[in-house]
């Protein structure tokens, strides 16, 4: 059941032109056509379409989400199901075409009233070159949409309008791939192994928004809910999507479909382990009893599936770690061997000065832990080691304000930017947390 073939189309260069289309690694983008797609919704007042490539002296500001255009060419449903008007059919089978090394980047400045409602609606930046180009987002080619919306939209509508515009553009670009032969294909299926292998679940915990109506979605569902089971192919087809409000890196749509844990588990399925599936649990419940309930139910699902082992990940920080650790504790106590893949303490993200770089007893790498968490892989943090230099080109907005308590204190996006001076920012470098272990950066004890 549930066999998915992914056809990959690498983008090696991108240029402006009409008609838009893809051929032999070159993506041609009709900027006027895409601008018109954004403006189809009258709530979008202004739309700028920019082409951005890695290596440029470009800084992108006010990043809200990054979306990889994907298209189902065979099999039920629509890529990124149940959001932005897409049907809710279960995905994960058939054939899906994707771009590689390319994404739609959504940028929009957060209006004052939305910042008041959601402190974490931050100004995040991506530098395409220089000391700030430390994340995977500095390596992608983009069609960047800078949108300005009608002023009176409430938080939920603001989020929905932005995401819908971005998905209209993404769907248009994905459409170029419909009739094409992919240069590369890969089939994903959880065929039963021929011998008894250790059975593994991927416990894919997802932050839930404490602010109602926004946050990452599972088939469009954002609210905190008890855990559910997803087939990894559903995730590859976009069943988990981000929101446009909180730019915490683990919530971006791109990293959900490009989660490196998925191909890694697939790689070992049938030879070293039997992968049973993904248990997706929400984190950041407000009450201790709710956190416990979510953890207990996650453990129960793992036991019912017959898991021998579990790979646990999370995509946030702070009090989310409590239910994650309670889950690890419960799994181990149930005899399910657990590995935890995690970032380290939030505190080191702004600028990695030597004082901050050398931590230990002064700054615990994890806010909270349980004795059962004895097998941990650390992806450290990604930070610029120096101030960010001036950049020639700016996309997304001409000024940035990192301290919400002083909205009058702005800096020109073109920089230079001393991130620590401007701190009070929440996630200033977009993607500074490599939640799922794309890179080799880590921390070592000395």
């Amino acid at each position: 059941m549930m066999r998915l073939e992914l056809g990959s189309f690498p983008v090696e260069s991108i240029r402006s032109g009409s008609p838009g289309g893809y051929a032999s690694g070159l993506l041609t983008v009709d900027q006027e056509q895409l601008r018109a797609r954004c403006l189809e919704d009258p709530r979008v007042v202004e739309a700028e379409i920019d082409i951005v490539e890695p290596g440029e002296s470009t800084r992108i500001a006010h990043v809200r989400d990054v979306i990889e255009p994907r298209l189902k060419v065979a099999g039920a449903g629509h890529a990124y199901p149940a959001i932005c008007g897409h049907p809710p059919d279960t995905v994960g089978e058939g054939v899906t075409h994707q771009y590689e090394g390319f994404a739609v980047l959504l940028a929009a400045e957060v209006p004052e009233r939305i910042r008041r409602a959601v402190s974490a609606a931050a100004t995040s930046i991506v530098d395409m070159s220089g000391p700030g180009a430390v994340t995977v987002y500095s390596t992608l080619r983009y069609v960047a949409l800078t949108l300005r919306l009608e002023p009176a939209l409430d938080l939920v509508e603001w989020n929905e309008t932005l995401l819908s515009a971005a998905h209209r553009v993404s769907d248009t670009l994905a459409g170029y791939l419909r009739e094409l032969e992919p240069p590369r294909r890969h089939a994903y299926a959880l065929d039963p192994p021929s011998e008894r292998l250790p059975r593994v679940v991927h416990v894919h915990t997802l932050n839930g928004s404490m602010v109602p109506g926004i946050g990452s979605t599972i088939y469009g569902y954002a609210k905190h809910a008890l855990p559910l089971l997803l087939h990894p192919n559903e995730i590859l087809d976009g069943a988990i999507a981000g929101d446009a409000v909180v730019t915490y890196p683990g919530k971006c749509t791109w990293v959900q479909v490009n989660n490196p844990v998925l191909p890694q588990l697939y790689e070992r399925h049938g030879t070293d382990l039997e992968w049973l599936g993904c248990i997706v649990s929400r984190t950041r419940w407000g009450a201790a009893a709710e956190k416990e309930l979510s953890a207990f139910q996650t453990v129960k699902l793992a036991r019912m599936l017959g898991a021998d082992g579990a790979l646990v990940t999370w995509n946030h920080g702070g009090n989310d770690l409590i239910e994650v650790m309670l889950t690890i504790q419960g799994l181990e106590q149930a005899g399910i061997k657990t590995v935890f893949l995690t970032i380290e303490s939030d505190i080191k993200v702004v600028r990695l000065t030597p004082e901050l770089a050398e931590t230990g007893s002064h700054e615990p790498p994890l806010l909270f832990s349980v004795p059962e968490a004895d097998a941990i892989v650390s992806t450290g943090t990604l930070a610029a080691t120096t101030s960010l230099p001036a950049m020639t080109r700016v996309v997304g907005g001409d000024s940035v304000a990192f301290d919400f308590e002083r909205p009058d204190v702005v800096a020109p996006t073109s920089g230079p930017l001393d991130l620590e001076e401007l701190s009070g920012a929440y996630s200033p470098l977009f993607g500074h947390f490599d939640n799922y272990g794309i890179g080799t950066q880590s921390y070592f004890d000395y």
């Binding site: 404490m210 009450a287 201790a288 009090n319 409590i322 650790m325 832990s369």
Partner: protein
């Protein structure tokens, strides 16, 4: 201290930890109505007085009794 997340408070070394309700409303519960909420808040503070008067040797959790929490 009052905390809605006792595991963190206790692990950080808080010796007298009173269990709060929820992060968003640690000392009370808006869903109980103003009388019920005020009574719960009072009970939480009373528990704090119990805690500072108690001899402890290590991180200790002080909870509000179920019946008291629900009573108007």
């Amino acid at each position: 201290m009052v905390s809605a997340l006792p595991p963190i408070a206790l692990q950080a070394g808080g010796n007298r930890v009173v269990k709060g309700v929820k992060i968003e409303h640690v000392c009370g519960d808006p869903s109980l109505g103003s009388t019920g909420d005020a009574a719960l808040r009072r009970r939480i503070v009373e528990r704090c007085l119990d805690a500072v008067s108690a001899e402890v040797t290590k991180p200790t959790l002080f909870e509000i009794e179920e019946a008291e929490a629900a009573a108007p």
